[in-house]
């Protein structure tokens, strides 16, 4: 239960940038993004929650959207990273690296010391 809540919190913070990171590789529509994120089930539990997230990224000007006809069914909304989105993503990459290194160094210190002695 506790680890679940912790994971939810960590996911909430990181998911936005994972979506930005995926879109930085190339534009995609919602269902495509969900499929890509779904390959690592840690990141997305309820698939529908990606849409409020995309809506927020759009409002913040980090992504732009374009409706295009789909070969099957209704038109699709494609998402693309804006220059502002690239900047935000790069800033997060640096912060994430520093954060991850700091957490790793502390969590691995114990192991390293016991391993050394």
């Amino acid at each position: 239960m506790d680890t679940n809540a912790l994971l939810t919190q960590m996911r909430r913070g990181a998911l936005e940038y994972c979506v930005l990171g995926l879109l930085a590789r190339g534009e995609a529509y919602g269902f495509e993004l969900v499929q890509q994120l779904g390959q690592t089930p840690v990141l997305l539990t309820s698939e529908g929650t990606i849409y409020p997230l995309l809506s927020r990224l759009h409002r913040e000007g980090l992504v732009e959207t374009e409706w295009r006809e789909s070969p099957s069914g209704p038109p699709r909304k494609y998402y693309r990273v804006t220059p502002a989105g690239e900047v935000a993503l790069e800033a997060f990459r640096e912060q994430w690296r520093a954060f991850r290194d700091a957490v790793d160094s502390i969590l691995q210190t114990g192991k390293a010391e016991t391993g050394a002695s």
């Binding site: 849409y51 809506s55 699709r76």
Partner: protein, 246 residues
């Protein structure tokens, strides 16, 4: 062909029901954002269904399960979009001492009672505004009524003086020039003069009754809203209508 028509209907109904539930759960979101999310979810379901090996009820149920429950989606959307959840009647609990004291004091000591009502989270802001306006407008109506009464009665006094002059002259000096023109006009003038005097008084009577009545009405409205708190912000009927419209 007929066999596939019925499952398709069931599939559409499942999707529509799900989207309606989401719409209701998202009722407190700004309409534009709610519509956007619903459109996205609808497109997602269509894409997922097209990608599924079979387009039957089971496939849709599976897709909707993966999407998350409407409540989960709504909670996540509020957190993402920075919208505080609506305080529900359940969250507020039963009305307590503060609410009942507010109603009683609104009737007896209106200013103190209405302040208590404003300090309670139980009533919605618009209901507090209405309750306050009922009281304030009642008092204002009385004030305006009294002002207009003194103004109207003031003019009717001067009219009386003017009207009385030819009467007095007519009695004192019965000249042929003065009496005939005022004579036939006088009954109607008297009538209008009486109306002019009685009119404001008739109007003022309900206004005077309003002095004790407006706090009572104000308190009555608060009591009514305690029993019928109403839904906050959008009504679900509007939301469901929006789903069908899009």
């Amino acid at each position: 062909m007929h066999e596939s028509a019925r499952p398709d209907e069931a599939v559409q109904r499942l999707i529509a029901t799900y989207l309606e539930e989401v719409a209701v759960a998202l009722a407190d979101l700004p309409p534009a954002q709610r519509r956007e999310i619903l459109d996205d979810l609808r497109a997602h379901i269509a894409d997922a269904l097209a990608a599924a090996p079979e387009q039957n009820e089971a496939a849709v149920r599976n897709i909707l399960d993966r999407m998350g429950t409407p409540d989960d989606l709504a909670r996540d959307a509020r957190e993402r979009l920075g919208i505080s959840p609506p305080p529900t009647a359940a969250a507020l609990g039963e009305p307590g001492l503060l609410e009942y004291a507010a109603i009683v004091l609104t009737a007896l000591l209106w200013p103190i009672g209405i302040l208590l009502a404003w300090s309670s989270a139980w009533w919605q802001t618009r209901h507090k505004v209405i309750a306050t306006l009922i009281g304030v407008l009642g008092i204002m109506a009385v004030v305006f009524g009294l002002i207009s009464f003194t103004v109207v009665s003031g003019t009717s006094v001067t009219a009386e003086v003017v009207l009385d002059v030819p009467v007095y002259v007519g009695e004192g000096t019965p000249t042929a020039e003065a009496t005939p023109p005022t004579g036939p006009a006088e009954p109607s003038r008297r009538f209008w003069r009486q109306v002019g005097e009685a009119g404001p008084r008739i109007l003022v009577l309900p206004l005077i009754l309003l002095i004790p009545a407006s706090p009572l009405l104000s308190a009555g409205y608060l009591a009514y809203r305690l029993r019928h708190p109403g839904r906050r912000r959008s009504r679900p009927r509007d939301v469901v209508g929006a789903v069908h419209a899009t």
